[in-house]
């Protein structure tokens, strides 16, 4: 189904600027889908932003909530959305009508950076480039279900699914995790099962030595072991823990056809949006790199200067508690370009201990531009930081690590050590800074209960959120659900059976207060 979208053409003066910007972008070797700009007013922009960039999205109350926040923020003068660009072919980008011409220039240059990134970065390779239509299609399907089954019913199910929308396997688009479902479970003609086929390891030996090289007892033990493994694997469900809970639910949860469709829609959208979360620093850094290059070298006119500088200072401002992705990204790209221009990489450079020599290192390699184009193609934020955040960079930009101090109730600076800082940053980027959760058992206690496992990495789950998420998951799975995690250094399982939340630790079981309980604070 095609979305009926009528884009107003740009007014002539902006169209001229666009042609200019596109020319510069192409000249620098940026490679992007056709880009279509539309000028919208602040409320429209807030609305589009609330829909995640897609005005044709399915109806849901949270978009209304988002909209109210954005538009209030704008009208109170607290925040302003400068640009909004959608990963699609053609790329759609929105300009805020109330912006000055200088801002429009800057935003256009910035948008071309994003478009190039969308098209060329490997992590976006699997995304649907006709997502505008895809979203409109999703919208129509969900609207139809709402007409048929009731708004409340469908919305409540969407709410439940949204709770687990981040439980997908973002790497599965590159790794084949499981074999395609085979239509037939073949049994061998002799009737032997997989269990019968296991064999113990036999070493080659002369017959008189066989008893010693392959002791019968050891062979029997090994065979029994292997049988047990095969058997347990057959009983396990899923056969291996999986991170794609949404897919698992699609296959195994007792869903009505429309529910299955809604779940698959939300899963599609989750996979579509995932790379944007994975590449926030790079994407913004890349776009900032190009808007600053194009603006400062070509497009800026004397009257633009103050406005441009002001805007740049605003977007690149650092903060003590939130690392600005624009700033970090663009500085890293510049650092890489500089290092590869000077040849400041490789073994010889790494092993050089002389600070002055390192600073003045110059081999005139001139590979900078080429390198950053390569980086933008193959990396995501995690690998980007891992590969290119150096000690020098960390010192120059005065990065530090902060942590929550339980006693003072404040976030406090904990360390300025490079290793610590980098480790923390990588941790925050791993799995988009969210806990890593596996589906371990879909038939827990042989009672059809769902058992999830949080792979603990030093930070505890927020218990109240976890409880509510379990309650939502229960609405989909319709049998008790559990998650194993670590609390206060001990393994603990949080469960929800449809009525009560329970916390089970090896030595005790606690009934947790649920959402239905009255909150008493005096």
């Amino acid at each position: 189904m095609k979305a009926a979208r009528h884009f107003r053409p740009l007014p002539p003066e902006l169209a001229a600027i666009q042609a200019d910007m596109e020319k510069w972008a192409l000249q620098y070797g940026l490679d992007f889908f056709t880009t279509i700009f539309e000028v919208v007013d602040a409320d429209q922009l807030s609305a589009i932003a609330a829909y995640g960039g897609f005005p044709t999205r399915y109806p849901h109350w949270r978009f209304g909530m988002e909209y109210e926040q954005l538009s209030k923020g704008y009208h109170y003068g607290l925040q302003k959305i400068y640009e909004l660009v959608i990963n699609n072919d053609p790329c759609y980008a929105y300009l805020l009508a109330s912006n000055s011409v200088t801002d429009h220039k800057l935003v256009m240059a910035h948008v071309y950076g994003h478009c190039d990134f969308f098209k060329n970065n490997a992590w976006f390779a699997h995304t649907n480039r006709k997502m505008i239509d895809g979203m409109a299609n999703h919208g129509n399907r969900i609207r139809r279900y709402m007409d048929r089954f009731g708004v409340e019913e469908v919305e409540a199910f969407i709410d439940a699914c949204l709770s687990i929308e981040d439980l997908i396997d973002i790497n599965s688009t590159f790794i084949k995790r499981s074999n395609d479902d085979s239509r037939f479970e073949f049994q061998s003609a002799t009737g032997e099962s997989e269990q019968d086929r296991v064999q113990a390891t036999r070493f080659q030996s002369k017959s008189y030595m066989d008893r010693f090289i392959n002791p019968p007892q050891a062979l029997a033990d090994e065979l029994a072991d292997q049988r047990r493994i095969v058997e347990s694997r057959q009983q396990q469900f899923p056969s291996e823990p999986t991170r794609d809970l949404m897919l698992f639910l699609m296959h195994h949860a007792p869903l009505k056809p429309w529910q299955l469709d809604v779940l698959s829609i939300l899963r599609d959208e989750a996979y579509y949006f995932a790379p944007q979360g994975q590449t926030k620093i790079m994407n913004e850094g890349w776009a900032t790199y190009w808007h600053s290059t194009i603006m400062t070298r070509h497009a800026i006119e004397p009257r633009d200067l103050i406005c441009y500088a002001d805007h740049c200072a605003g977007t690149l401002a650092g903060s003590a508690t939130r690392l600005n992705p624009y700033k970090l990204g663009v500085e890293l790209f510049r650092d890489i370009e500089d290092r590869w221009n000077r040849g400041a990489f490789g073994e010889e450079y790494e092993q050089c201990d002389d600070r002055v020599a390192r600073e003045n290192w110059n081999r005139d390699t001139g590979l900078g531009r080429k390198k950053i184009f390569e980086v933008r193609r193959i990396h995501n934020d995690l690998t980007f930081i891992d590969e290119f955040l150096t000690l020098d960079f960390c010192r120059r930009h005065r990065l530090f690590k902060f942590g929550y101090n339980n006693n003072s109730g404040y976030y406090e600076i904990e360390s300025k050590q490079f290793e610590e800082v980098k480790k923390q940053l990588l941790f925050n980027l791993t799995n988009l800074g969210r806990p890593i959760i596996y589906v371990r058992d879909g038939n827990y206690r042989n009672r059809g209960e769902l058992f999830l496992e949080h792979r603990f990495a030093g930070v505890e789950l927020k218990l109240t959120y976890a409880q509510d998420t379990l309650a939502n998951l229960f609405r989909i799975w319709k049998r008790p659900v559990h998650i194993e995690t670590t609390l206060e250094g001990k393994v603990a399982t949080v469960s929800f059976d449809g009525k009560e939340h329970q916390l089970t630790r090896p030595e005790e079981t606690i009934r947790l207060p649920g959402p239905g309980d009255v909150l008493v604070t005096n």
């Binding site: 300025k416 109240t464 509510d468």
Partner: protein, 370 residues
Amino acid sequence: MFMKIDRDQHRFREIVRGKVRENLRKYITHGEMIGRKGKELVSIPLPQLDVPHFRYGQNGRGGVGQGEGEIGQPVGKGDQEGEGLGSAGGEPGEHVREVELTLAELAQILGDELELPRIQPRGKANIAQEKARYNSIRRVGPETLRHFKRTYIEALRRQVSEGSYDPAHRGRVIPIKEDRRYRSWQNIPVPDANAVIIYMMDVSGSMTDEQKQIVRTEAFWIDTWLKSQYKGLERRYIIHDAVAKEVDESTFYTTRESGGTRISSAYKVCADQIAASFNPSDWNIYCFQFSDGDNWGEDNKSALQILRESILPACNLFCYGQVESPYGSGEYLRALIAAFGDREEKLVTSEIADKSAIIDSIKKFLGKGK
């Protein structure tokens, strides 16, 4: 562009209202959860409005920042929530999003939930008063009311149609007399119903802070509801022990005296107020009296007399709320009932045992629609 967002925004507001309604009893019981924001807005914490996900808590959480600073220097405040197992027993649903509602919406929700009838203003108050509203356009009028935009548009339209518009000089549009448009008014009947609430409270030693908190919470909801029913709403506060005086709102809730109790003294001040400032033919008068029911024995007679002769004939509704207190005898309520029984329909009495009884008390007071 067609704004589909309106539908979603509407739905969001609907959900907010639904949730507030669902939790109304809780909000009423714990009045302090509701924060005032300026004159017309209240903010209400709405747990579970966000879509919950598995997320990290604060324990062991941190990040990377940029800038000057020494180790140990605080960079930001944590959220005000004791997370982790220690507090897991006590407080569910701490991820609290606050939503804003107007007082009118809140009153509407209260009315819906408690099925409160709309109030019929009485007497002369039903007579509508005419008010001028500038909401239309005429071709003639005084220059002071000239509508610049409309005039400009008319002139532009005329010039374009007669071909005298010169695009090279955009904006050069010269209106002639026929182009001029003027603001004009219509008379709109506005019901001129004014209301006054007179709160009376016993502040003698037997009323503790907890009792006062109950009164305060109840008064907030009564205010909210009556405000939605009347355009102008005045409030008067009278405190009394053995003697009574009129005070402002904050004094009303904070004063604590230790003397004896003479309810008649408060009634007297109330009756004087009504006589002096609130002519019953112009005003809808609501009296709310809160006490723990202790009164000086021989005072009952004179109190009931003032009530019967001066206050009840003048007011729409007289509500007596008896707050249960460890010291009060609750005897005054019995005296009221003995004196009036069910015969006086302007008199409503209710016993408020604790905070959770507030909601029923409000329903009883306002359920008559007077």
